[in-house]
Symmetry: C3
């Protein structure tokens, strides 16, 4: 089964990349690595999941936000690569959680993203990861993700 089929089985459709909001590239390839820019949680092309963990956003909604960002990031990979199976390994994920000073469960929020990756890619989707609490994020997003993936060819 392809990653696309596995996502479909979960009822998840890959969104088209949302418009670039600033002066940068969505992805850059160097050697066998593809670097992917920071993504936010867009639903139907509109920003969703705004606010801070530890305040108005619960851990459960933070996990949904992280999964939504990951789905957007996979949508970008689909648009750039044609087929998700060209990814041989998710190498690295950096998870920025918009959080209050006393929040301490960033790792649980980040599971929303990595759980989705493992569903789509199996063990090769399980990346190295850091999860940290930012003071704020663009558009007041609850979660932002950037990634490095290894390509098969």
């Amino acid at each position: 089964m392809t990653p696309e089929e596995r996502l479909q089985r979960e009822g998840l459709a890959l969104p088209a990349p949302h418009p670039l909001v600033a002066n940068y590239a969505r992805t850059v390839r160097t050697g066998s690595l593809l670097f992917v820019s920071g993504h936010g949680p867009f639903v139907d092309g509109q920003p969703a999941y705004m606010g801070k963990l530890g305040a108005e956003v619960t851990v459960e909604n933070g996990q949904k936000a992280a999964a939504t960002v990951m789905l957007n990031l996979l949508g970008t990979l689909k648009a750039e690569l044609g087929e998700l199976s060209r990814v041989s390994r998710f190498v690295k994920l950096l998870v920025f959680v918009n959080a209050t000073p006393d929040f301490a469960e960033h790792h649980l929020v980040a599971n929303g993203a990595t759980d989705l990756l493992v569903k789509a890619f199996g063990d090769f989707g399980r990346p190295t990861r850091s999860a940290v609490g930012t003071a704020s994020l663009p558009f007041n997003f609850a979660v932002e993700l950037e990634a490095i993936v290894e390509l098969r060819d």
Copy 2:
């Protein structure tokens, strides 16, 4: 035209690298990639652009801070590589914006850095990027940047 000539046309001179403030390397090369340490906004060897976006630093001054950091980072590349044209691709930029909890325009601040890159290198200067809000930064800098570049040789 070389990147150095393009910068000169903009009236911008590459500064010498400022002294290392701690125990780390300015750059490390591995394969064709050069990793560049976090840089701050120095002008004439002195820290400049201190404070937080969302408080005492405006978005316009934040963009100037980001451009200043990028100029310092290019100064480091010039000192390490001899010629900026040895850079074949700006791969990745991580933009740390010293920001209040309610600031939401980090992506506009970060454009101060990437606009300068595109001026100097054209499309090959447009990197992948994340922009996030930190609670604080060393020396109370308004912006800190780290980079990964691909070398031609």
Copy 3:
């Protein structure tokens, strides 16, 4: 002398990797690079050094926290690689310091980590580095570190 012997000379023993607290991989290798996930300061398998720089954690204790995280990270490398001498170069360190909005000495805290690296590996242990202040960190850790290392084989 091996890195292990140098650490032993300092009275430092490499800890076993602590249990994974979430859904991610401790390390992922791609080409000659090994990416290492974010680590926290564990002592005897228990979280240690909690709280914020600029508040209840002094710079001196922050440096001890950073050294402790680095020792845990080296313990992970030892478990994954067998011998630390398989690391040919510490390429990159990202230092997240749990800090108040007015803290400004993140670079001094981060020296706790890089000083230890240089003791263990000599000049090849001196990485590129960024040090930034996060609003919060998982488990309220004072410091979190992620790394990229180059392998010899």
